[in-house]
């Protein structure tokens, strides 16, 4: 009797029924949550490998980008392209779209790159004087890098969300398995025990009553017999008296 907290429910058939129903509900919930946790975990494991791979890819693409940028610097021969690019930034031509994805009932945000061609046109005019083609090549390299990065961002957010969700689900599963279900089982055990005890008491009581009744009946019978015997006692009137002649 571990953790019923002192107060016990009334031991009768009705409470037993409610607790049995609760036990059924709890074990069903436990099974479902366990399934959910396993589904999340399998997805999580698949994510890990993807994250490492994409991380490597991002590193590579940024390295390519840095190299391309160095080439662009060289091609533009002295023009400070960096500051002119920073100055030109006004409206993004690359934006992301976020939409939810569903994994075992958990909504996970997924990012997607959106490109706006009309905004890109502004960038095309840059570096027309010198090294425009190289600059465009650099732009493409960086666009690829951005795509990789956005993919990595999706994976990373999914990783975070799943991590939290798995923690939460495991906590629930463990709470059900080690606290709630044992507690309900405990109470059911207590109630059945108590009801058995009551039944035994009742049986014993009935037995006692019957015994007493038997004794009483026996006594009454004896008394009655005695009475009858008393009645049967020969009356003096019926006795033959030798002295009476007629």
């Amino acid at each position: 009797m571990s953790s019923a907290g002192g107060q016990r429910p009334a031991a009768n058939r009705m409470t037993l029924q409610t607790f049995k129903a609760r036990l059924g509900g709890a074990s069903k919930g436990f099974k479902l949550l366990k399934k959910k946790r396993d589904a999340l975990k399998s997805r999580f494991q698949a994510l890990l490998k993807d994250i490492v791979d994409t991380k490597l890819k991002v590193g590579e693409s940024l390295k390519d980008g840095a190299f391309a940028l160095a080439k662009a610097h060289y091609a533009s021969s002295g023009d400070d392209i960096a500051s002119s690019i920073v100055e030109r930034a006004k409206k993004p031509s690359v934006t992301t779209k976020m939409y939810p994805d569903n994994v075992a009932g958990v909504s996970i945000p997924v990012f997607k790159v959106l490109r706006n061609a009309s905004q890109e046109a502004i960038a095309h005019t840059m570096g027309v004087g010198s090294g425009g083609a190289v600059l465009n090549a650099t732009r493409d390299t960086y666009l690829k890098a951005v795509e990789c990065i956005v993919q990595l961002a999706s994976l990373q957010t999914a990783f975070h969300t799943l991590d939290e969700e798995i923690k939460m689900t495991s906590r629930r599963v463990n709470a059900l398995e080690y606290v709630l279900i044992p507690r309900i089982e405990d109470i059911i055990h207590y109630i059945t025990q108590e009801m058995d005890e009551q039944a035994r008491e009742e049986f014993f009581r009935v037995k006692k009553v019957v015994e007493k009744k038997k004794v009483k009946l026996a006594k009454e019978k004896e008394q009655a017999e005695k009475n009858e015997a008393a009645i049967d006692a020969p009356s003096i009137l019926q006795k033959k008296d030798a002295d009476i002649v007629f």
Partner: protein, 133 residues
């Protein structure tokens, strides 16, 4: 433990904090955004920028609703490591903070909070990124 429901949202920008070359490259790709008040979604970090300014900009970016992810080069992340870690441990999922390698310093997955967590579940992760634990 906030149960967040993600809704579809488009036209989200990418925040960026990094050295000049990284920022230039990314802006060239077209992620730069400057709004009417001259507020930028990127920050060029050089020797003149104060750490406090980086941190302030980082918080500003995390508070914005139209930012889906914040790219931060690892050496900048190192400067404001406390703020980055604090954000990644909070319940807020959007924006996502991504640590990217910068041009000058090689990427070290041991410093990246996400990679630490990944390596916790997958011990071979660090090795495949070329780092001994």
């Amino acid at each position: 433990m906030v149960k967040t429901k993600f809704v579809t949202q488009s036209d989200m920008k990418i925040g960026l904090i990094g050295d000049e070359d990284t920022v230039t490259g990314m802006l060239l790709a077209g992620i730069g955004h400057v709004d009417g008040q001259g507020k930028k979604n990127f920050l060029v970090v050089d020797s003149k920028v104060h750490i406090k300014d980086i941190e302030e900009h980082f918080h500003e970016l995390t508070a914005r609703k139209d930012i889906s992810m914040i790219l931060i080069t690892q050496d900048c992340a190192e400067l404001i490591r406390r703020a980055v870690d604090e954000f990644s441990h909070s319940a807020q999922m959007i924006p996502t903070v991504l640590e990217i390698p910068s041009k000058d310093t090689p990427y070290d997955p041991r410093k990246d909070g996400v990679m630490q967590r990944v390596a916790f579940f997958m011990p071979s992760a660090m090795a495949s990124l070329g780092v001994e634990i």
